[in-house]
């Protein structure tokens, strides 16, 4: 038991701007679905789509 570590999976959403092709990673929000339109691009105000949703494991 002394070697066991608790794991937390942090979910992220990666948006890609269709205009400037910049990627933006943010925390996953419920309702996020791949390929759907997302927030406005913070660089050029273009439309972004959700390119990836993935999890990263954090060990406590």
């Amino acid at each position: 038991m002394i070697f066991s570590k608790d794991e937390i999976i942090l979910a992220y959403t990666v948006e890609k701007c269709l205009k400037c092709e910049k990627l933006n990673r943010r925390d996953f929000c419920e309702g996020d679905v791949l390929f759907n339109s997302s927030l406005k691009c913070t660089f050029c105000d273009g439309t972004t789509v959700i390119e990836k949703i993935y999890g990263e494991t954090l060990q406590k």
């Binding site: 999976i9 990666v14 419920e30 309702g31 679905v33 791949l34 390929f35 949703i53 993935y54 990263e56």
Partner: protein, 363 residues
């Protein structure tokens, strides 16, 4: 002259002889006692998984679906439902029988889950159905492990507990993975197993789609003067669709030259997660009926089947997709196109099937 003083001491002789006698006559019981401790801990964990998954399911239904009545009793009834597989003494026609049994169970579950809240949409329905399957599987695992343990204990039979002790790490790996998958299914996140639908789903984007078989989408596109029939489960609900039925319909109406399947596959120990491999044959898991039908169609029509797999562990396959797997999607897509160009000539037709659970992956 050469004797050691301690050896002739009757007390010291007893210290040696008594443990030997104990081990000769009670060795098995001692081993049983030691092993029992480990198994009891595992059973306690399995019991926690079982009750947690049930609680999560009931809470999800109560919170999100506005059920007509209290769903607890109904859900508990569903969890105890069992499936009796057809007899296989005469294997002739067994695949059709298994398919019928499994699909009847799926239809039954779907209808009864729907009855919990008549206004439930298809996506919620598929989520609840999956959560129900997880809770039901965890309940069954707990029941079987507990039964084997208690039987061995009751009979005081150590050899009976050995197979359980050997299998327990694998059983626990599966159970832990199933337990860890619940948050992803509840929030509709893509799973590691969804890499196939993710690759084909992106190829389908902005194309006209139709539902070709139950919960299965089809898009027809042209690529380098070849006709592509893109098939995947209809997302973003949690379903694997029926790609075998879809292939049957496509082949019945079109001349197909090549089938390409994209799927997640279990990696071997020591292999890198998210590594890609190409091969031949139908890459599809499950109970085997779909694989059988796809192979049957391919054989009857003399269509070669090529596969691209993305390797991952059991846990990675049914929990939220990892960064490494997600980052392979573009690479896999380019390998699909490469495979099509390598194995077909202009004017030919290809079916590309994205196999796997399409939770969180639309098209």
């Amino acid at each position: 002259m050469f004797s050691m003083g301690d050896d002739s001491d009757p007390l010291m002789m007893l210290v040696w002889i008594i443990p030997i006698i104990i081990f000769v006559f009670y060795g098995q019981q001692i081993q049983l006692l030691v092993t029992s401790g480990e198994i009891k801990k595992a059973i306690k964990k399995l019991d926690k998984f079982r009750s947690d998954s049930k609680k999560e399911l009931i809470d999800y239904v109560k919170k999100n679906l506005d059920p007509v009545d209290d769903p607890t009793k109904k859900i508990e009834q569903f969890l105890d439902y069992f499936t009796i597989m057809p007899v296989d003494m005469d294997p002739n026609g067994i695949v059709d029988k298994v398919r019928h049994t499994v699909r009847s169970r799926e239809d039954y579950t779907r209808n009864h889950v729907q009855s919990l809240s008549p206004n439930m949409d298809e996506i919620e329905l598929s989520r609840v159905q999956t959560l129900l399957e997880i809770a039901s599987s965890l309940q069954m695992i707990h029941k079987i492990v507990n039964h084997m343990f208690l039987t061995a204990k009751k009979q005081k039979n150590y050899p009976l507990i050995l197979p359980l002790q050997m299998m327990l790490p694998f059983i626990m790996e599966h159970a832990k993975a199933m337990n860890a998958s619940i948050p992803a299914f509840k929030t509709g996140q893509p799973l590691g197993d969804g890499i196939g639908p993710m690759v084909v789903g992106k190829m389908m984007l902005n194309e006209e789609k139709e539902i070709i078989s139950f919960q299965t989408a089809l898009a027809k596109i042209d690529y380098e003067k070849r006709k592509l029939f893109l098939v995947k489960a209809e997302g973003p609900g949690s379903t694997v669709g029926r790609p075998d039925d879809a292939l049957q319909k496509i082949v019945a109406n079109n001349k197909i030259d090549v089938i390409v399947m994209v799927d997640a596959a279990l990696k071997m120990e020591g292999e890198d997660s998210a590594s890609i491999a190409r091969g031949f044959g139908a890459a599809i898991g499950g109970i085997g009926t779909e694989k059988f039908q796809i192979e049957d169609i391919a054989t009857q029509n003399k269509i070669p089947v090529f596969s691209i797999i993305v390797k991952q562990s059991v846990k990675e396959a049914i929990t939220l997709m990892t960064k490494e797997i997600a980052e392979q999607a573009d690479n896999v897509r380019s390998q699909v196109y490469e495979m099509i160009l390598e194995n077909t000539v202009e004017g030919q037709s290809v079916v590309v099937i994205g196999v796997g659970n399409t939770a969180g992956v639309p098209q």
